[in-house]
Symmetry: C2
Subunit: 256 residues, 2 copies
């Protein structure tokens, strides 16, 4: 039986998604909560069990990045029944406070959160003002200097479409192809001093959204003078903007 999980997490104290020995990761904490649940279920049946199946996420989030709707899939042990409410309550009782299961459902065996076609929505949160913000400290990238908003808002639209994003990936990104399709790319002012940059796409390169967000801010500031269209054509990482900090980014949803 294949199960699809939807997760929310606060990225602050996680070294990213993927399990790594010696680091606190989303996958690691998820796996260990699941193990406790499974062990107790198997014990009731007089059986021993260790969960060693692969966990397939829609994609790995970087260290510090938040998620409101990360999706992952895994194979459920055959001998256990599956009751979504029970699983959610048990899981959230076991897991740490910065990780929560929002949903769990049976999906066709062919479903794989990573490889099944999907769209993903990221939001990057920006706070624009001189004084620091005690309330939004943990979720917004705070820009203390003035930026030309209309320039940044116009530039955001240029990312839409299918392009080679070679200039917008981390140096250690290992993707074989750097061509990606961006379905939506919009920078919107949501209050006097808050901006949200929304990006929807089918897949992303490592750090891609953070470099796009950093580039838009630098275009607004004037420290990047090339347009996104030019940067995409040119394909040189050093001409694009800085990588915006991880804590401003949130994986909002994944749709299959």
């Amino acid at each position: 039986m294949k199960i699809k999980f939807t997760l929310e997490y606060n990225g602050k104290n996680f070294s990213g998604f993927q399990a790594q020995p010696g680091f606190r990761t989303v996958e690691g904490e998820f796996r260990s909560a699941l193990n406790i649940f499974f062990a107790s279920e198997f014990k009731k049946k007089g059986l021993d069990y260790k969960f060693e199946e692969t966990i397939s996420p829609s994609g790995r989030t970087d260290a510090g990045v938040h998620a409101k709707g990360q999706v992952l899939s895994l194979i459920w042990p055959d001998v256990l029944s599956f009751d979504p409410h029970r699983v959610i309550f048990a899981f959230n009782g076991i897991a740490p406070a910065d990780l929560s299961v929002l949903g769990a459902e049976i999906v066709p065996d062919t479903f794989d959160a990573r490889f099944s076609p999907h769209q993903k929505c990221y939001k990057y949160y920006l706070k624009l003002r001189r004084a620091r913000s005690p309330l939004d400290l943990a979720r917004y990238w705070h820009i203390y200097y003035p930026i030309d908003l209309s320039k940044a808002i116009a530039a955001a639209k240029e990312f839409k479409g299918t392009h080679d994003f070679k200039a917008f990936r981390a140096a250690d990104c290992q993707a074989k192809t750097t061509v990606r399709t961006i379905i939506d790319s919009q920078l919107v002012r949501i209050s006097e001093d808050e901006l949200v940059y929304t990006v929807i796409g089918k897949g992303f390169l490592k750090n891609m959204v953070r470099i796009m967000a950093g580039t838009l801010v630098e275009i607004g500031r004037g420290s990047v003078t090339h347009s996104p269209s030019f940067l995409l054509k040119e394909g040189r990482r050093e001409l694009a903007g800085e990588t915006a900090p991880a804590y401003g980014l949130c994986l909002e949803w994944v749709k299959y």
Copy 2:
């Protein structure tokens, strides 16, 4: 010279606004940052100084309540010049991370943040779903049980107008009159699982907005069966709902 300050703070680690010996309060931290600034300014002039003026806030916020736009006024020492940018930068360099000065400006000597006529806007943030929220843990009151939203939304409107709020104040509230005017009272769903309750008024009793919010949630749940109109007429605290937790409440703005 009279100065009006606008403050943002994260209420989590403050024992309320008002200075109290032995407690960490907003006024206490503000006053001590101001003292450091004044002492250094006076020292440049070869003078000693201790700031002992009264600080007059638009109102005291309870322990744990946040503010995005609290306003206070105070008398500026005559011998010091006043440069708002300098004051803001200096203050925010000295003050702790959970307190920030957003604005500082000269106002007429007759201005008093507490006694000058004003309107105040509070927002109460609610999260409605079964699974806990790692991202909104600190700012939302999380309601785990289902509530009848349309009932709660309709009830919110009944608070509008001038009423006796005797049933909606803390047991130790010392206000002489309990009649207050509510200019707006609206419960709005802002996303699939988030509600914001906005209240605008000229003045509030102790815990008043939190009891109003708690009552609306209980009306939606069915554990309070009386309408706000009835509760206002009846004036009995025990018939109204519970006091909603402080961390869901934020003083959004004060207008003079």
